[in-house]
């Protein structure tokens, strides 16, 4: 099916979408799911090792979780810089995107590309292209949680 340019823009857009759906290779759902499960599981297991270490050092649970996130963010940001993260993500997909490593990658990757746009409006701004919305929704949800707890506890 092709796009009929005599039709209104809305219909053209739908035709284009149907067309791209048709020719895009269908993802191999099962293989992708297994990759995501294994790699995501490994990252969480590694995280558990760090978590145990911080708990053993005497940090409370929430703080230990936060410090585990710090370590994983450092590793993911470093691997993104090296270009290795993308190589892993090609196979692992959500396995590296859904853990906190995906948050770090979503900050570094667009920022790296924006270096020639300057250190302020390039790198500084692009760090938050995806992280910005994540923080907006996360902080609003936390604020609402706190407000409801304050009113009805």
């Amino acid at each position: 099916m092709d796009v009929d340019f005599t039709k209104p823009a809305g219909i053209q857009r739908k035709q284009y979408r149907d067309f791209t759906d048709q020719i895009n290779p269908k993802p191999n759902v099962l293989v992708n799911a297994i990759w995501a499960f294994v790699v995501g599981g490994i990252i969480c297991t590694v995280g558990q090792g760090f978590l145990n270490a911080f708990l053993a050092a005497g940090l409370p649970v929430l703080e230990s979780g936060a410090m585990t996130a710090v370590v994983l963010i450092f590793i993911a940001a470093f691997l993104t810089g090296l270009g290795v993260f993308d190589d892993i993500a090609k196979y692992a997909g959500a396995g590296v995107i859904v853990p906190i490593t995906g948050f770090a990658n979503a900050m570094v990757a667009p920022a790296m590309e924006a270096r020639n746009e300057g250190l302020v409006l390039g790198v500084g701004a692009r760090l938050f292209t995806i992280a910005g919305p994540v923080l907006v929704f996360g902080i609003v949800a936390a604020w609402l949680t706190g407000l409801l707890y304050f009113l009805f506890r």
């Binding site: 599981g41 978590l51 090296l82 997909g93 949800a141 936390a142």
Partner: protein, 118 residues
Amino acid sequence: MIFLTAFIVGGLICVVGQLLMDLTNYKVTLAHILVGFVTTGAVLSALGLYQPLVELAGAGALVPLTGFGHILAQGAIRGVETDGLLGVFAGGVEAAAAGVTAAVVFGYFFAIVFKPKG
């Protein structure tokens, strides 16, 4: 034992994300996944449904982005308990501050140090 449950639960949470992308033909993008998981985690945590998962799976529940939402929501609740109304505003970000600062500092540093491939 906790390592095994961390692997299984963490892996399964990632599978949910992978299926969301694959079964919608990638109309659910990376940004939607990140935002959706953080928000879902915060809501589940507020309803008291996420804490049992953390007790069962440890890092398997804390490392996925739903865990980041959980830390935000639990921070807000803890903030209210210690500081009242101030905690509504400060608690969430306080609990997540280490992660956010790490992401900004390391992210900015590595984005400047490394050149993109190709």
